[in-house]
């Protein structure tokens, strides 16, 4: 065994004392929390909510997009129908007249 290997072996022997050890009470608490999470039953309401939540969000997004689209469309058509008034030298002209 080389000096380097001997050094590392001794280092490993002392390093093992640095291992983090959890007490039994803490282990039991973590185990209980894990078991609680993996065995918790999903209720019908939660199941339906998990399915319908993204669907509702998608529908809402489509509705908002459609509302914005209609609003822009309406503004465009309103602008086209309005007459523009220009006053020059006391005379009033309507564009489109």
């Amino acid at each position: 065994m080389t000096d380097d290997e001997k050094f590392f072996e001794r280092l490993r022997g002392d390093g093992a004392s640095l291992r983090y050890r959890v007490d039994d009470a803490t282990l039991a608490r973590i185990r209980a929390r894990i078991q609680d999470r993996v065995t918790s039953k999903v209720t019908l309401a939660e199941l339906l909510a998990s399915w319908f939540r993204p669907l509702a969000a998608g529908l809402a997004a489509v509705a908002i997009a459609a509302a914005i689209g209609l609003s822009i469309d309406r503004n465009d058509s309103t602008f086209g129908e309005q007459e523009v008034e220009i006053v020059m030298g006391g005379d009033t002209y309507l564009v489109g007249d």
Binding site: D4, K6, F7, F8, R10, L11, R12, D14, G15, A16, S17, L18, R19, Y20, R21, V22, T26, L27, I30, R31, R33, I34, Q35, R37, V38, T39
Partner: protein, 183 residues
């Protein structure tokens, strides 16, 4: 790595069949080591416990994809290591806001201090902590958790060659820092 524990393979098969209660057998077998691995990375008892819990829940959620012929230990070790490294990445990103002038050592709790209570232990601990992240992780798994290269490779997702390379660099640096310790 193959699973040479037929009992464990049977337990995993039961969990895959929907027996959530059977999962506790795996949890009780691997929990101490999983918490220790997490603590080695995040160096905080509460975070390590939370990470261990999260790792086991995620493993359970993905157990259907797990092959019963594989050992469970390296898989859960890898999950918790990835989670812990993510936490460290997040901490580095928000270090300025989080620490606000507090040194990392001051954030350790009593359990953390106890782990390095003796002089030699404290020296080794400090020397390991000064290593770059992946060398630190590999060195800690090898020196503290007493894992061999193959197991470290399975847990970290690194190749055996990369593990050996990290360990070789870590070994050289530790020898330099701790030269006086065993002379």
């Amino acid at each position: 790595m193959a699973n040479d524990d037929p009992l464990e393979a049977r337990v995993i098969a039961r969990v895959q069949d929907g027996d959530a209660e059977a999962y506790d057998t795996l949890v009780s077998k691997y929990l101490p080591r999983v918490v220790a691995i997490a603590w080695g990375v995040v160096r905080n008892a509460h975070d390590a416990e939370d990470l261990a819990q999260e790792a086991f829940v995620r493993a359970y959620q993905n157990i259907g994809r797990f092959r019963t012929s594989d050992p469970f230990g390296p898989w859960i070790g890898r999950i918790v290591t990835n989670l812990a490294l993510d936490v460290m990445k997040h901490r580095r990103k928000f270090r300025h806001e989080e620490l606000a002038g507090t040194e990392p050592a001051a954030r350790r709790d009593d359990a953390d201090v106890m782990a390095a209570s003796n002089d030699i232990g404290a020296r080794i601990d400090a020397a390991i902590e000064e290593l770059p992240e992946m060398q630190r992780l590999v060195a800690r798994l090898h020196l503290v958790e007493e894992m061999e290269h193959v197991e470290i490779a399975a847990i970290t997702g690194l190749s055996d060659g990369t593990v050996r390379s990290h360990l070789s660099h870590a070994r050289a640096k530790l020898r330099e820092k701790l030269a006086d310790l065993y002379d």
